[in-house]
């Protein structure tokens, strides 16, 4: 899954152990500054830890991009309830496969990030919620947890500091919705993955009704370097308000697909043409979904932009989970949109009506357009349904479905019309002239 060497443009911080022999073992971890950040954090006050994370401009790597330090500061440390730390390892956003590598090649960095978070909020237990399909990672993480316990880094009176904290793995069983943080907590408590009303947010009422720090795997893995080298050093790697590096998973029609660690704000076109080796077969770039399938699609001519949360928002899309899906000129955009919407229809938990009904409508209408059975007005139906879902569903899954639907029909309307009228669409034109 790894290229033999990192690309010269990569800044290897979170991935720096990936190519070491036995990289997942505690021996390798300890030999490469492992648990040094946690030792440093033990000598810091919780306020100092949170301040350092705030200074780093680290923003949530799961997709929403919420400032991590701020999230931690919302946990009421004086609450008499126990506090929990939960890692979201329910990686499921189509186009995203980075957390899998972090857990496979460097599981201890996740444990260390969780330990530091636990220190910052005085938590007593941590859970790693892993999607059921990632079974082999449970074995790897359980082994890492056992190693950490043997080294006195988990359990009672950690390193003689008086701190008690342990980490456990927890498996899902097939559900995209459980990547949404409150649905994940429901699942962790043994229920269907149906989201909860927010507020209260997990910081005040999360796992088992207790204050909870809940972050993505990559977010936790970013914490040890922040504590070790200082928040400002991490912030300096990226762009204003977008600190550090990010693991971008570049998939689709490129010559060298893969997961690359690049500074926040790295140019998207450079990412495709230089880092991922360009569009396969020397074909023309047509479109890019910049941050996982829920992000609005960009036309090729919109792709000359820095990949950070704010630049993507200004471009009308999102950085999301960093899954860069590249499509060349042979791609039928109707087919792509229909496939993405079938996914959301299948994964909607069905709890709220606009999402349950809306995703089904979008999937059905787009599928019949794709297959040449479209009816007059279908493109308007897609637009109306999607617009009426936006902001009206109980959790973000409805928006995640509506946004790609809207952007595909707005930016590639011709192709939808062609399918409706039985003309060859742009992708078929390319194929005809090839």
């Amino acid at each position: 899954m790894l290229h033999p060497e990192p690309h010269p443009a990569e800044v290897v911080l979170l991935t720096r152990r990936f190519r070491l022999p036995d990289s997942a073992s505690i021996g390798t971890y300890l030999a490469t500054e492992g648990y040094q950040a946690f030792r440093k954090a033990l000598a810091m006050t919780p306020e100092e830890i949170i301040e350092e994370v705030k200074k780093s401009n680290l923003r949530g790597r799961g997709g929403a991009g919420f400032p991590t330090g701020l999230k931690w500061s919302f946990v009421p440390r004086n609450s008499p309830k126990p506090k929990y730390v939960v890692a979201n390892a329910d990686e499921g956003e189509p186009g995203t496969c980075k957390d899998r590598l972090l857990m496979q090649y460097d599981p201890h960095s996740l444990l260390e990030g969780m330990l530091i978070a636990a220190r910052a909020v005085d938590a007593r237990a941590g859970y790693i919620y892993i999607r059921g399909e990632y079974r082999y990672l449970i074995e790897i993480l359980d082994r890492a947890i056992e190693e950490a316990r043997r080294h006195g880094l988990l359990g009672r009176n950690i390193l003689g500091s008086g701190m008690d904290f342990d980490i456990y793995t927890h498996s899902g069983a097939g559900s995209y919705e459980c990547g949404e943080e409150t649905a994940l907590l429901e699942s962790l408590e043994g229920k269907r993955g149906v989201p909860r009303l927010r507020p209260p947010f997990p910081a005040t009422s999360g796992a088992f009704g207790c204050p909870t720090v809940l972050n993505n795997v990559e977010t936790f893995c970013s914490v040890p370097p922040i504590i070790l080298r200082g928040g400002l050093a991490f912030a300096g790697l990226g762009t204003p308000k977008n600190g550090g590096t990010r693991l971008f998973a570049i998939s689709g029609h490129v010559n060298r697909p893969g997961v690359y660690e690049l500074p926040m704000g790295f140019n998207l076109l450079r990412m495709i043409h230089e880092v991922a080796g360009g569009v396969r077969g020397g074909r023309k770039l047509k479109a890019v979904i910049p941050g996982g399938s829920s992000c609005p699609v960009l036309r090729a001519e919109e792709c000359d932009l820095p990949m950070d949360f704010d630049s993507l928002a200004r471009a009308g899309s999102m950085l999301g989970s960093g899954g860069v899906i590249v499509m060349d000129e042979t791609t039928c955009m109707v087919k792509a949109a229909a496939r993405i919407l079938r996914f959301y229809a299948r994964e909607s938990c069905g709890f709220c009506t606009p999402c349950r009904e809306g995703t089904q409508w979008l999937a059905q209408v787009l599928t019949r357009l794709e297959r040449g059975h479209g009816q007059r007005g279908d493109v308007e139906v897609v637009r109306d349904v999607a617009r009426n879902m936006l902001g009206r569903t109980f959790c973000p899954l409805g928006d995640a479905a509506a946004m790609p639907a809207l952007s595909f029909i707005e930016k590639f309307r011709d192709e939808f019309e062609a399918h409706l009228e039985g003309r060859p669409c742009a992708a078929e034109e390319v194929a005809l002239h090839a």
Partner: protein, 166 residues
């Protein structure tokens, strides 16, 4: 019901790691771990889980009906899960799934008559950069062309047949 030593150890660890008073929290992984051994969530499994966790049948049934990996009937010895979501689709995932249907003579959620293979078209499995991708049981296979698929199937059929003779 009594499970293998390995499964029992896993279930024991799961129960130990729950906060006091929150035994139900073990439900989802417990069902999956038991299914891995038994092959399906049978009525006996539901009953067993109710007893072990002190939850009602309804609590268990509503969870079983929600999660896509939990099933009521056993899959084949080799459960083939092919991703056709966007990243895999762009590099031939849908064609791979169609090929698999023809090769095995079954469709989505089908099981071959000899019980050797079952097939499922699945959503993103987190192998987007290495597509077309699939899982056979829990094992990942990357860059799966129809030729690679056919070779793997022959190999599995061979292994499965031998295991059955033993």
């Amino acid at each position: 019901m009594k499970f293998s030593e390995q499964t029992e150890a896993r279930l024991a660890r799961l129960i130990e790691s729950r906060p006091p008073g929150h035994l139900r929290s073990a439900l989802v992984p417990m069902l999956l771990f038991i299914q891995d051994e038994v092959g399906a969530i049978t009525p006996e499994v539901v009953e067993e889980v109710c007893q072990r966790l002190g939850v009602s049948r309804r609590d268990v049934e509503e969870v079983v009906s929600y999660y896509s990996m939990l099933r009521r009937k056993p899959a084949g010895r080799y459960h083939i899960q092919i991703c056709t979501n966007i990243s895999c689709m762009l590099v031939g995932g849908a064609e791979l799934f169609e090929h698999a249907c023809r090769k095995l003579g079954i469709g989505h959620h089908g099981v071959t008559e000899d019980g050797m293979f079952s097939l499922e078209e699945v959503e993103c499995i987190g192998a987007c950069c290495w597509g077309p991708a699939m899982q056979v049981n829990y094992d990942y296979h990357h860059h799966v062309t129809p030729e690679v698929f056919d070779r793997l199937i022959e190999q599995l059929r061979d292994n499965g047949g031998k295991a059955r003779e033993r």
